[in-house]
């Protein structure tokens, strides 16, 4: 009978062990869609924060971001226009116009690399006295128009805390742009005015949109989007490039006065 009991308890132990093994097996079901994931859930804890210096310098650096690159071509038109190529040529021309003003210009990519959103933000966040401009060509919109975007003011500040209560001097990486919304809006206004003067039917005032790239930049930051890759060929876009470069450079020169007046 003792043997029998041992066998039965061994059997029970094996059944329990098999049940545990089943639970530990990898789950491939998608997460329940009812729950809203936490905003910072994708960021490792050590990456969630970064010390960000307040802008105390004169405006000296412009980080230009030719968006997309690598496997991500961005918008693609049926005529073969590829956003990632066009924005790179825009950035190269704009670099020349900005350097002519004595500004240091850093491109987030030189060729067809594909840095992540955070990699691009890091380049700006490592600088002082810096602004960030990300360049895009849209799939849609009236041909030959240019729209300038900055992040909107948060509807409810509690949803997007900019500072970390445990470390008041630190700003949450995920919300690095929160402290720069007003300056970004000002920069967007100045650029949009120049665009409206140069490109007919462009809006007179800038727009607000939750552009992912801007969220993690701890500096005045705007997105410029040109319409569009749907043109029958690339020539009109190439013709826009020097005009756009001149307009943006003038806007940055005007913004420099605003920035330096407010930054002592």
């Amino acid at each position: 009978m003792i043997v029998c009991r041992r066998s039965i308890s061994t059997l029970l132990a094996l059944i329990v062990a098999s049940a545990l093994a089943l639970r530990a097996a990898p789950q491939s079901e998608p997460a329940p869609s009812g729950a809203v994931p936490a905003q910072t859930s994708q960021q490792p804890a050590q990456q969630a924060m970064q010390q960000i210096a307040a802008p105390r310098n004169a405006l000296a650096v412009v980080v230009l971001d030719p968006a997309h690159g690598g496997a991500d071509q961005g918008a693609r038109g049926s005529s073969g226009i590829v956003e990632s190529d066009v924005v790179l040529s825009f950035a190269r021309l704009l670099r020349i116009s900005l350097e002519a003003q004595g500004l240091r210009v850093i491109l987030t990519r030189q060729a067809n690399e594909g840095p992540s959103f955070d990699d691009r933000s890091k380049i700006a966040n490592a600088q002082r006295g810096v602004i960030f401009i990300t360049l895009h060509v849209s799939s849609t919109g009236p041909a030959g128009t240019v729209r300038v975007y900055s992040l909107p003011q948060p509807a409810a500040p509690a949803v997007t805390p900019a500072s970390n209560p445990a470390h008041p001097g630190l700003v949450l990486w995920d919300h690095a742009q929160q402290g720069f919304l007003d300056l970004s809006r000002k920069l967007a206004e100045l650029v949009q005015i120049q665009m409206a003067q140069r490109f007919r039917s462009s809006p007179e005032t800038p727009l607000a949109a939750a552009v992912r790239q801007l969220r993690t930049v701890a500096a005045p930051a705007v997105a410029i989007e040109v319409s569009s890759v749907s043109l029958p060929d690339r020539a009109p876009l190439d013709q826009m490039a020097p005009v756009l470069a001149d307009g943006v450079a003038r806007a940055v020169a005007a913004f420099r006065l605003v920035y330096e007046a407010g930054v002592k």
Binding site: S28, E204, A210
Partner: protein
């Protein structure tokens, strides 16, 4: 203890050990055969695509936000007759299905025709969670403008026709996505203009500046959308 009982226990023990070794791979094989999550999405899709009708359905004039025919860089409130439920969740599903399927012309679409609404919830604080199929991410034209028009059309249509919703969270296939199609940030919540706010544009909404912000819940007096400065035809 009888010999037969001992033998049975030994055989059972061997079977359990064998099961322990083979079950994880068996489980994976079953998942492979069943095609993992795709048929699940297909099944949900079939369920959600069936026009939803509830006992409280009443035919009303709903304000739908599609691209403006005259000014395609903005949205325009378009009244259509739609049977809508009194239940906010069912009502929202009916509206989103119509937003995907009933656009008056292809060029006025804001959401890809293959998009399906996989799930929809409203939390007690007024946060609506809309879970769309991968098609929304894969087939929405890439660009800040087009992606913002897509999100705006959802937020404005819900805001104009459902009272219970304050903000909107968009999921793709049950997961949080970083962007809609390479540009627009889906990690946060999008404000939904309430019916009370409908008469005035919501200046703080990330999704409103290029749109009308003029949602109406009542069929009477739908405010036509003020066009944005962009006026030329696309392309």
């Amino acid at each position: 203890m009888s010999r037969a009982l001992k033998t049975t226990i030994v055989i059972l023990a061997v079977l359990v050990v064998f099961g322990l070794i083979t079950l994880p791979s068996l489980r994976r094989a079953i998942q492979r055969i069943s095609g993992s999550s795709r048929p699940e999405e297909q099944a949900r899709r079939e369920v959600m695509q069936i026009p939803i009708s509830t006992p409280t359905d009443v035919k009303v004039t709903a304000q739908m936000y599609w691209l403006s025919a005259a000014s395609p860089a903005s949205l325009e409130a378009t009244p259509i007759e739609l049977p809508l439920s009194a239940d906010p969740v069912e009502r929202s599903k009916q509206l989103l299905l119509a937003l995907i399927d009933n656009a008056p012309a292809p060029e006025r679409r804001t959401l890809p025709p293959d998009t399906t609404l996989l799930a929809f919830y409203i939390q007690p604080d007024g946060t609506a969670i809309a879970d769309f199929s991968d098609a929304l991410q894969q087939e929405t034209p890439s660009g800040i403008l087009s992606e913002q028009m897509a999100v705006d059309s959802i937020a404005q249509t819900l805001g104009a026709n459902v009272n219970a919703i304050r903000q909107l969270k968009i999921l793709i296939h049950g997961q949080e996505a970083e962007t809609l199609a390479g540009h627009l940030d889906l990690s946060g919540l999008f404000p939904v203009p309430s019916a009370a706010q409908a008469a005035t544009p919501v200046s703080q909404a990330p999704t409103t500046p290029t749109t009308t912000g003029a949602g109406q819940t009542k069929p009477a007096g739908p405010a036509p959308a003020p066009p944005t400065p962009a006026k030329k035809a696309p392309n």
